[in-house]
């Protein structure tokens, strides 16, 4: 019983961070129909920035989100304007976005490997090794402090995202563009500007994710392929483009992965994601929560 509860807790903690990682990815797809294969690679960029700030200046990884978010926002706006207006209206637009961002992922990975080499890195602030322990009977539940903080920050940011999308004028414009691009244009939304902004917001979320990930997982430049595969699995589960779905998908899959890991060993844990992805694509190509996946 206790051990099941323990596994559930660990799964939920990770799920909270996966949710933040995937929220940006699903936002980009929702608003602009961009499948950003470079998303995890850009999360890595933020993770390396966080690591540098921590190693050089001792800046706390969580606080460095204040740096990585604006930096990635700017990078996102620039990247959008550089790449995507050119392919608007092209035949097989969504596939084009996959290939373009694939190229971006290669470039980012190569640069990271060149600068930081391929070795494993991890930011190690004091709280990484700590845990809250709750004795129950003979055994105890433990909650790793770092992951708890990461989960808390992640949920706060997701709540902030929700408020931004629901209550601000720009947020409403982003939602409108997600729901019907043509209609958004008709009511006077400059969809290209909103798309660039949304791309920036999506990457700012990637920036914050990178700061959190920097002390949760060891990482190296080609690590992002594993992450993007997981993130794609969970946004497909949640219905591509739906942020609510991405959060639910993240929590469900992270818990499932934690149980797989507990039963079959840690090396098997990603199988939960891939099998879920295949199962969903087979049964309901539109995902579980989202509306129709528009291709």
């Amino acid at each position: 019983m206790i051990s099941l509860l323990q596994v559930l807790i660990l799964g939920l903690l990770l799920g909270g961070v996966y949710a933040l990682m995937a929220s940006g990815l699903t936002l980009l797809f929702g608003v602009m129909r961009i499948v950003n294969l470079a998303h995890a690679a850009l999360i890595l960029v933020a993770a390396y920035i966080t690591l540098l700030l921590f190693d050089r200046f001792g800046l706390d990884p969580i606080l460095s989100a204040l740096v990585t978010m604006p930096v990635m926002f700017g990078l996102g706006v620039g990247l959008y304007l550089l790449l995507f207006p050119r392919i608007e209206g092209s035949h097989r637009y969504v596939e084009m976005t996959v290939l373009l961002t694939f190229g971006v992922a290669l470039i980012v990975e190569g640069l990271l490997a060149f600068i930081f080499t391929g070795i494993f890195r991890q930011a190690r602030p004091g709280y990484v090794m700590d845990a809250f322990r709750f004795p129950i009977g003979d055994s105890q539940l433990f909650v790793p402090t770092g992951q708890l903080y990461a989960m808390a920050v992640s949920l706060t940011l997701l709540a902030g995202l929700w408020v931004f999308l629901q209550l601000t004028r720009t947020g409403r414009a982003i939602r409108a563009t997600t729901q019907n691009r043509a209609a958004a244009q008709i009511v006077g939304i400059n969809v290209r500007r909103i798309s660039a902004l949304a791309f920036g917001v999506g990457l700012a979320l990637a920036g914050a994710s990178g700061s959190l990930v920097s002390f949760i997982f060891p990482f190296f430049p080609s690590k992002h392929w594993q992450w993007i595969a997981l993130m794609l699995a969970l946004i497909v589960l949640g219905g591509m483009g739906s942020i609510k779905g991405a959060v639910l998908g993240a929590l469900i899959l992270a818990v499932a992965a934690a149980f797989v890991s507990d039963t079959f060993g840690a090396t098997w844990s990603p199988i939960a994601f891939y099998l879920a992805l295949f199962l969903i694509l087979l049964v309901r190509p539109q995902g579980f929560f989202g509306a129709k996946m528009r291709l």
Partner: protein, 345 residues
């Protein structure tokens, strides 16, 4: 499976009447093909007398021919049918592992079992295709990425094939001075075979169907094409030579290790080559393979063996997609400047 009427040998299905071509163009192409084939076949002899670093040059030849085989094969599903798979490295791994394990357990040379490895890849392709091809567009791409990682996970955890560490293969027992030649010719066979297959597909009714699917799948369906059977067939067909060269490649490496076959960079490379050269054309993947190979070599020479070469490849991909989305061959053809010796369709 039952709803899938297997297209018997689709390549041999009724061929499409060829457009009349100027005789001079056809001659130029014939000459070009004969010259290229001769060069490929005589390359080991030429290399021996010209380059001091014979083994190194031969290794380059082996690698280039392997990539030609892979990108040409990928082009059947990715180019003709327009279904972009980022998971084709799976077939490469299956080929390598099937032949490698046979070599270890029964001592049969991969040179003999490579076609078998190819068939194993085809069989796997049928099954994987039946699942992944239920989706279209980006969902298909995502499912092929998942396929790759799922396979990687299994190989990493399968003790019989050595898990993450893999297994070592016995060395080939050829005279040292000609050690590379058999590998070279085996890869050449793979490359020539896959280009020939691609050519046959391009000129068949089957190939026409694939192009229709790539243009507008719904219309193709309405026109009476069994799109599912076509797609699965193309997917499986594209696996054959990739599996075969995977078998040979494992033998040259003298070991099997999951990451040596299943890196997404490997899957990526076939895609890049085909796109840069020109998706959906016969010559495109070959041109792309040569180009990327040259850029790679150049990058390695310039910057040393660094990760900057994948940056160069990434930049190249962006430039081609944004400015020449049809690739080298496609763009040249569209502007009517494709030299006859590159017009293999």
């Amino acid at each position: 499976m039952s709803d899938l009427p297997i297209v018997e040998n689709p390549v041999e299905a009724e061929t499409v009447p060829e457009e009349p071509q100027p005789a001079s163009g056809r001659t130029a192409r014939r000459v070009a093909v004969i010259v290229i084939l001769t060069l490929v076949l005589l390359f080991p002899l030429i290399a021996r007398s010209v380059f001091p670093s014979y083994n190194y040059v031969m290794q380059l030849g082996i690698v280039l021919l392997m990539w030609i085989a892979m990108s040409s094969s990928w082009n059947i599903i990715g180019g003709f049918a327009g279904y972009i798979s980022l998971g084709h490295a799976v077939f490469y791994a299956i080929g390598g592992y099937v032949s490698g394990m046979i070599l270890i357990h029964w001592g049969l040379s991969p040179f003999l079992t490579a076609p078998l490895a190819g068939l194993a890849a085809v069989a796997f392709g049928v099954v994987a295709g039946l699942i992944t091809l239920r989706t279209r567009g980006p969902a298909f791409i995502i499912s092929t990425i998942a396929l790759l990682f799922l396979t990687l996970l299994f190989l990493d955890n399968w003790e019989f094939v050595g898990g993450t560490d893999g297994v070592n293969l016995p060395l080939a027992s050829f005279p040292v001075e000609w050690l590379k030649a058999p590998f070279y010719y085996a890869m050449a066979l793979g490359a020539i075979g896959s280009v020939y297959l691609s050519h046959r597909v391009a000129h068949s009714k089957f190939g026409l169907g694939l192009r229709a699917i790539s243009q507008d799948e719904t219309k193709a369906e309405v026109a009476g094409i069994n799109t599912r059977a076509y797609k699965v067939t193309a997917f499986a067909l594209s696996a054959f030579f990739i599996g075969s060269v995977g078998a040979i490649w494992g033998y040259t490496l003298t070991y099997l290790r999951p990451v040596a076959f299943l890196a997404i960079a490997i899957a990526a490379r076939m895609v890049l080559m085909a796109i840069i050269g020109g998706r959906g054309t016969v010559a495109g993947p070959v041109v792309g393979a040569v180009l990327i190979f040259a850029v790679d070599e150049f990058a390695v020479r310039q910057f040393g063996e660094t990760s900057l070469n994948i940056v160069v490849v990434g930049v190249l991909l962006l430039v081609v997609l944004l400015f020449f989305p049809l690739g080298v061959v496609g763009s040249l053809r569209n502007s009517g400047r494709l030299p006859a010796f590159l017009d293999w369709d």
